[in-house]
Symmetry: C2
Subunit: 449 residues, 2 copies
């Protein structure tokens, strides 16, 4: 029997297994049901046929680790997922209880249905399906299912770093997040990084009267604005020395991938809530995937209420989030920015509020197009390859810390309502996800890793 | 008997008259006791010897008007004051009830003691004193005592405009506000004007994710910053076409006056709460009296809380207060600013939140130095002439609407705590104010108006 036939035979049983996991609370932010869920997921991995399964402790919530070693001569795939979920609040907004999974109109409703239990269990049940079909796996498979993704994966870098030998693989494969609009599946090869900083200038000890002290005491908002203008020109180019030094331009192959992506300008306008947007598909994706940003996320100084208040503000602060592309290093960019500030306006303080490295897996890896075909076939809908997300995810844990290519293939429908009431996954997406994972194992076997 | 001797003889009686007025509530913001106080002040003007006294209605609170006509051949002085007061809150912070005037340690404590009943009654009782000394007044005297100064003198321009014939005078004389540091008296010849505007740019209909939409949707904070940089250079010079066209440079005489003003850099630093201030006396007063400002009173866009939020803000706004010097016209400056914005960033909206014309009475008017000497003699302390306040007052009502020179001589001690709990005026300041006003009448008589 092929994978699809086996899945069809097991529809009820597979759904029951998923429902068991969905019924088990695992709210990482509230440490509610975490260990129970980790143990349950470990059992599911064993039941699926994984040979070695264990809970591995971290500073907080355990990682569920599973391994099926076939041979040293075949490639190894490391499958990543998470078993923790967001709190279900506001509970009263749910049409059925968040931890009592319910099928309505072809969708499974439950907290974690889409993010990430439904997708993670599709990965797990693919092992059972594959073993039923072929008796053994085609490649070495490792599972790393963590329990604190929803609270920022705080321990994941250290965990991966501490177990790099054990986690060694040729590819990291993850399924999380929603598909593209119209539920087109896609293969994601990377993310932009981020560096989030706050610049603050404190002038006087208090707000001063803008008349009686006007021209006497310096204005911190003007000081910040003058500084900001040295950092970026009116066309949006960043003027910090060395900012673009490490930027890797897209390859011809990556640009060609962009051209294949779906694009509807009217939909973009609705998406961003702005009628004035006008750009070509190539520009849109190039700006989103391959160009850094230098965004003001907040500027605050003085009086922001209704009407007037005549003050010289005592301080001003600006929050800047900088999305980084390959090979920009947030640590280096932070140093360049500090150097720039020190040179131009030394009394401005610079704080860092977070960073992530950009990550990108080369589009000419041999397994990418076969994976795209596998997901397209399993979902019966045109599938795309996106070289990078505009946003940031800790994908560099795999590509930089572990040093392994990484691809992400979302199995959840675009309206999965993750983090919201009535979170759901389409029943067929769950089954199609199982089938996709089976095909991916074959792809890895056949690719020259 | 000279003025001082008469005042000495009447110390108790004068204080009693002031206490009567201080005991009468007159909170304009709450319309509490206003008409009762207006009638009481009218009685005080009559008691002092003013020949014609009337309440003149405005849209809201009545003006108390008084007149003493001597002859068409002598100059006319129009004395301005106000009988309304600020609300006394927080009442529990007062050491004695705000409407039960109390003398402690040489100070009269009551709401309105300094602002403005104590100073206004010194003007009124000067008439009684002068008449007791000389039997008649040396010049024609008019009183305009309004009842809504503390709520912005909303009806005063229209009132003055509607009664310009009746209010015709050669000089407007007012006593309000505190003296200079160390309780040095001074003669104030003008104020800076003000134009208060808000620039706002609205981009998207909502805040956008800075990663998934970064580089796609324009950032309104950057747009405002780019616009602001076209309006002012890093040295603080305003770049709006025509902004400086009408600026009247100070005369040599005015610059010489600045050099005579008291100046203590350490005190300036404490006053503005900023250790880094460093400037000469001439620079300090020139920047304050004779140079316009272009101050950011508030800049608000996006997230201003703790930590990070990764958004492209949907809008940004900046509040700018522009202090104007002679002969800048707030209406013209507003037009220039709108033209500038329209040229550079037409999608920025411009709102006006208030304006006042600058006002200055020429320092070479013949009565100014004699008034300085009069106040110096009455207060027994070196008195100064300041060509302009850094702040803004509706002084142009006199110099521009009525077309009359105007001087302001504050009688209240520097720590009068106006608008605050435990508002007070030093008892001796009240008496010295009476004496000063008497001398001023003589000065006007002797000046070539």
């Amino acid at each position: 029997m092929n994978y699809k036939e086996i899945i069809d035979q097991n529809r009820e049983a597979y759904l029951e297994e998923l429902f068991e996991v969905l019924s088990q609370k695992s709210i990482s932010a509230q440490d509610d049901g975490i260990r129970e869920c980790a143990e349950l997921v470990a059992d599911k991995l064993k039941d699926a046929g994984m040979k070695h399964v264990e809970l591995m402790e971290t500073e907080t919530h355990p990682v569920v680790y599973g391994e099926y070693h076939v041979s040293d001569d075949v490639p190894t795939i490391l499958i990543y997922g998470h078993y923790d979920v967001q709190p279900p609040d506001p509970i009263e907004a749910w049409d059925s209880p968040p931890f009592e999974p319910t099928v309505r109109d072809g969708r499974i409703y439950a907290r974690g249905a889409g993010d990430n239990k439904g997708q993670m269990m599709a990965q797990v049940l693919a092992i059972r399906t594959y073993l039923e079909a072929k008796g053994t796996l085609p490649v070495n498979v490792k599972f790393l299912i963590e329990g604190e993704e929803e609270i920022g994966s705080a321990n994941l870098v250290d965990f991966v770093d501490a177990h790099r030998e054990k986690l060694k693989a040729d590819l990291v494969y993850a399924s999380d997040g929603p598909m593209l609009p119209d539920n087109h599946p896609y293969v994601l090869l990377g993310v932009r990084g981020i560096l989030y900083v706050e610049l603050e200038v404190e002038e006087a000890a208090f707000d001063n009267h803008s008349g009686n002290k006007g021209n006497i005491v310096p204005n911190p908002a003007w000081k910040l604005i003058d500084l900001l203008q040295t950092m970026r020109d009116a066309d949006g180019n960043v003027l910090i020395d060395g900012f673009y030094d490490d930027v890797l331009p897209p390859t011809d192959e990556e640009m060609a991938l962009l051209e294949k992506l779906p694009f509807d300008l009217e939909e973009v306008k609705r998406n961003v809530g702005h009628d004035g947007i006008s750009m070509s598909k190539a520009d849109y994706y190039r700006k989103l995937c391959f160009e850094p940003t230098f965004n003001i996320a907040g500027f605050t100084s003085g009086y922001g209420g209704e009407g007037s208040k005549t003050i010289i503000p005592k301080d001003a602060k600006v929050k800047i989030d900088i999305r980084l592309v390959m090979n920009q290093d947030p640590d280096r960019i932070f140093e360049l920015l500090k150097t720039h500030v020190k040179k131009h306006t030394p009394d401005v303080t610079v704080k860092q509020f977070g960073k992530m490295w950009p990550s990108r897996t080369s589009a000419d890896m041999p397994f990418i197009e076969p994976i795209r075909q596998a997901v397209e076939k399993s979902f019966g809908k045109e599938a795309f390859i996106q070289p990078s997300l505009g946003g940031s995810l800790p994908d560099a844990i795999w590509t930089k810390v572990l040093g392994v290519p990484s691809v992400l293939v979302p199995y959840a429908n675009v309206d999965e309502a993750n983090h919201s009431p009535n979170e759901n996954i389409m029943v067929e997406n769950f089954y199609n996800g199982i089938e996709t994972t089976c095909h991916v194992l074959d792809v890895i076997k056949n690719s020259d890793m």
